[in-house]
C-alpha cells in the first residue's frame, strides 16, 4: 500500500468522523463542559486550601492548576476515540472498511486525527475560560507567546498520543459503553498521581517517585515552565529537570508503541 493512500485514506476517515461530530454536537459540547466544570470547581472549591510552594494564595493555586487541567483534558480524549472505534466495530463499519482496498492504518489514524481536532476546540474554549477566571501566563516567571504556543503544542501531542491508547482500548472491548468507561477509569490514577493538582514535593517519597516519572507529569511540568506559572518542582528526577524533552519523548514513545499495537489488532480483528 503506497504512502499516498495511507494519507488520503486517513483524511477521508478523519473527514467522516468530523462530519459525525457536527451531527452529534452534544458530544463536542459535553467534551467542553466537563473540563470547564473542573476549572471552576478546583479554582473556587480547592483554591483557598491548597498550598503550592509554601503559598496558600488562591491566585497562586489558580495559576498552578491550569496546566494540570489542560493536560487532564487532552488525555480525556482517550475515551472518545475508544468509544468511537468500539462503536464502529459494533455497527459493522469496521467490517466494511476492512473489506475495502484501503490502507490498513487509515481507519485508526483518521479517528485519532479527528479527535485531535476536537481536542483543539476543547482546549481553545478551556483557555478562554481559564483567562476569564484569572489564569495569567507569566504570573510567576516571564514568558512569551512562542513559549505559550509551544506548551499548547506539547498538550496536543500528549492528547494525540493518548487517543492511540484509546484506539487500542476501543478495539479490545465489546461495546462502546465499555470503551467509554475503559477509556476513562485508568486516567484518574494517571492524572491524580501526578503533579497536576497538588504539589508533588509534598507527597510521600514512593508516591512522589511515581508522580515524577509519570509521563503525564512531564507535560504538566513543561507547561508550567513554558507558561511561566508557579509550581515548577525542583527535583532530581530527569523528567522534572528536562520536562519539555521528557514530554516530547514520552508522547512520541506512546504513539510508536500504541499505534503499532492498535494497527496490529485492527488487522487481526476477527470481530
Amino acid at each position: 500500500m503506497s504512502g499516498m493512500s495511507m494519507v488520503s485514506d486517513s483524511l477521508v476517515i478523519a473527514r467522516r468522523n468530523l462530519i459525525r461530530m457536527t451531527r452529534i454536537p452534544e458530544m463536542v459540547l459535553f467534551g467542553v463542559i466537563q473540563p470547564v466544570m473542573f476549572v471552576v470547581l478546583f479554582t473556587y472549591v480547592f483554591g483557598g486550601s491548597m498550598s503550592v510552594g509554601g503559598s496558600t494564595d488562591p491566585d497562586v493555586y489558580k495559576n498552578f492548576l491550569m496546566a494540570g487541567i489542560f493536560a487532564q483534558t487532552v488525555t480525556f480524549a482517550t475515551a472518545g476515540s475508544a468509544a468511537g472505534i468500539a462503536d464502529d466495530m459494533q455497527k459493522g463499519l469496521v467490517d466494511r472498511f476492512r473489506s475495502l482496498p484501503m490502507a490498513r492504518g487509515a481507519v485508526l489514524t483518521g479517528r485519532t486525527v479527528a479527535d485531535l481536532v476536537q481536542t483543539c476546540i476543547t482546549l481553545t474554549v478551556l483557555a478562554i475560560v481559564a483567562l476569564i477566571v484569572g489564569w495569567r501566563p507569566g504570573s510567576a516567571e516571564p514568558t512569551d507567546a512562542g513559549r505559550v504556543l509551544g506548551a499548547f503544542g506539547l498538550l496536543l501531542l500528549l492528547g494525540y498520543a493518548f487517543t492511540w491508547i484509546g484506539a487500542l482500548i476501543g478495539l479490545s472491548v465489546r461495546t462502546p459503553e465499555a470503551a467509554t468507561s475503559g477509556g476513562i477509569i485508568w486516567l484518574f490514577p494517571v492524572t491524580f498521581i501526578s503533579n497536576a493538582f497538588v504539589d508533588a514535593s509534598q507527597m510521600t517519597p514512593w508516591l512522589r517517585h511515581i508522580a515524577e516519572w509519570n509521563p503525564f507529569s512531564a507535560t504538566v511540568q513543561a507547561c508550567r515552565e513554558l507558561f511561566g506559572n508557579p509550581g515548577v518542582v525542583d527535583s532530581g528526577a530527569w523528567p522534572m529537570q528536562h520536562p519539555v524533552w521528557a514530554s516530547l519523548i514520552w508522547s512520541v514513545l506512546i504513539v510508536a508503541v500504541f499505534r503499532t499495537l492498535a494497527v496490529r489488532k485492527y488487522r487481526a480483528a476477527d470481530g
Binding site: S8, D9, I19, R20, R23, D95, R98, S99, L100, D270
Partner: protein, 325 residues
C-alpha cells in the same frame, strides 16, 4: 479452471467451536450460489473468509482468480460486500456514505461524487440522498448498503442475508435489484435463511450445516432428491377417512400417511395434474366430501428437513434457548 469464487477445505475454529469444517465451493462466473443454512451453520464465517475479513486456519480460496490468503489487497479491489454485518454510517447522509466508500476504493473525488449520484438515482434514494441514514427505513438502508457494495461495479459480490428482517414488499424490491445485477454478469454468493429466497435467486444452492456443505445442486435437483410430488387430501368428515385412504392407496406410489386430528391424508404419486383429476373424480364418485386437495411438490424446507433432520429457520429456537438459560 476454478470459478469466480472457489474454496477448498476451509477450516476455521473459534476456541472449541469448529465454525467451518472443510467447506468446498465453486461458483462459475456470472452465476449465483445460494448458501443456505440455519443460524450458526457457518454461512457468515464462510463469507468472512472469502472477503478477507477472517483468515481461515486451513484451506485455500480464490476470488476472481486471486488467492485470498496470498493477495488479500487485490481481492478487496474485486469484491463488493453487503449484508447484515457490512454497515453504513448512520450519521452520514446516503450521498456522503457512498462518496466515502468510493474514495476508499481509491477513486478520485470527482468520479466518486458522480458515481454516488448515479447509484442514489438507480436505487431510488435520490430524494433522501442528503439526509443522515439514521432517518432511513430498513428497506432504504439495505438498498444503500447494496449500493455501497456496487460503487466500483465489482465482478464478484457477496451478500450476507441481504433481506433478513425486511417486509415482503422491500424483499421483492431487493430481489429485483439483485436479478438485474446478475443479468449484467456479476458473480454472486448469497447467504440466506429463507429457502424461498434461494429458490428465487440462486442458480445453484449449497446447503450448509455444522460448518460443512452437506448438499449442493440446483433447487430442482435438491427437491428431486427429497422425493417427488404427492397428493394431499383433507376430508370433511372423520368417518370418511378410511374410505379415502383406500382410494389413495390405489393411486399411490408409496405408503399413505394419515393424520387423524387434521383429517389429512398424504400419498406420494407420479402423474401430475392428470392424476390429481382422477383422484378427485374417484373420491367424488364414492361420495366423500373434500375440504382441500392438492398436488404438493417438496419445498426447500422439506429438502432441508430431510437433509439435516431439523428445520431451516431456527432463529426462534435460539431466542427461546436464550430466554430459557
Amino acid at each position: 479452471m476454478p470459478g469466480a469464487i472457489y474454496a477448498e477445505g476451509l477450516v476455521k475454529t473459534f476456541g472449541d467451536v469448529k465454525a467451518l469444517d472443510g467447506v468446498d465451493l465453486d461458483v462459475p462466473e456470472g452465476t449465483v450460489l445460494g448458501l443456505l443454512g440455519p443460524n450458526g451453520a457457518g454461512k457468515t464465517t464462510t463469507v468472512r473468509c472469502l472477503t478477507t475479513l477472517l483468515r481461515p486456519d486451513r484451506g485455500r480460496a480464490l476470488v476472481a482468480g486471486i488467492d485470498v490468503l496470498k493477495d488479500p489487497v487485490r481481492v478487496r479491489r474485486s469484491i463488493g460486500l453487503s449484508g447484515q454485518f457490512a454497515a453504513v454510517d448512520e450519521y452520514l447522509t446516503g450521498r456522503e456514505n457512498l462518496q466515502m466508500v468510493g474514495r476508499l476504493y481509491q477513486m478520485k473525488a470527482r468520479p466518486a461524487k458522480a458515481r454516488a449520484a448515479e447509484l442514489l438515482e438507480r436505487f431510488d434514494l435520490a430524494d433522501a440522498a442528503d439526509r443522515p441514514t439514521k432517518t432511513y427505513s430498513g428497506g432504504m438502508r439495505r438498498r444503500l448498503d447494496l449500493a455501497a457494495a456496487l460503487v466500483v461495479s465489482p465482478p464478484v459480490m457477496f451478500m450476507d442475508e441481504p433481506t433478513t428482517g425486511l417486509d415482503p414488499r422491500n424483499r421483492q424490491l431487493l430481489w429485483e435489484v439483485i436479478k438485474q445485477l446478475v443479468s449484467g454478469g456479476t458473480t454472486l454468493l448469497l447467504t440466506t435463511q429463507y429457502l424461498e429466497e434461494a429458490d428465487h435467486l440462486a442458480h445453484d444452492i449449497a446447503v450448509v450445516d455444522h460448518g460443512r456443505v452437506i448438499a449442493r445442486g440446483t433447487s430442482d435437483q435438491l427437491k428431486a432428491r427429497t422425493g417427488g410430488e404427492r397428493v394431499e387430501v383433507v376430508v370433511h368428515e372423520r368417518e370418511a377417512m378410511a374410505t379415502a385412504a383406500e382410494v389413495l392407496r390405489g393411486f399411490g406410489k408409496g405408503d399413505t400417511t394419515v393424520e387423524d386430528h387434521t383429517r389429512k391424508l398424504t400419498v406420494p404419486v407420479t402423474g401430475g395434474a392428470k392424476l390429481l383429476a382422477e383422484v378427485i373424480r374417484e373420491l367424488d364418485g364414492r361420495g366423500i366430501e373434500i375440504d382441500d386437495i392438492g398436488l404438493r411438490r417438496p419445498t426447500l424446507d422439506d429438502v432441508f428437513l430431510s437433509l439435516t433432520g431439523h428445520a431451516a429457520e431456527t432463529e426462534d429456537d435460539e431466542s427461546d434457548k436464550e430466554t430459557a438459560s
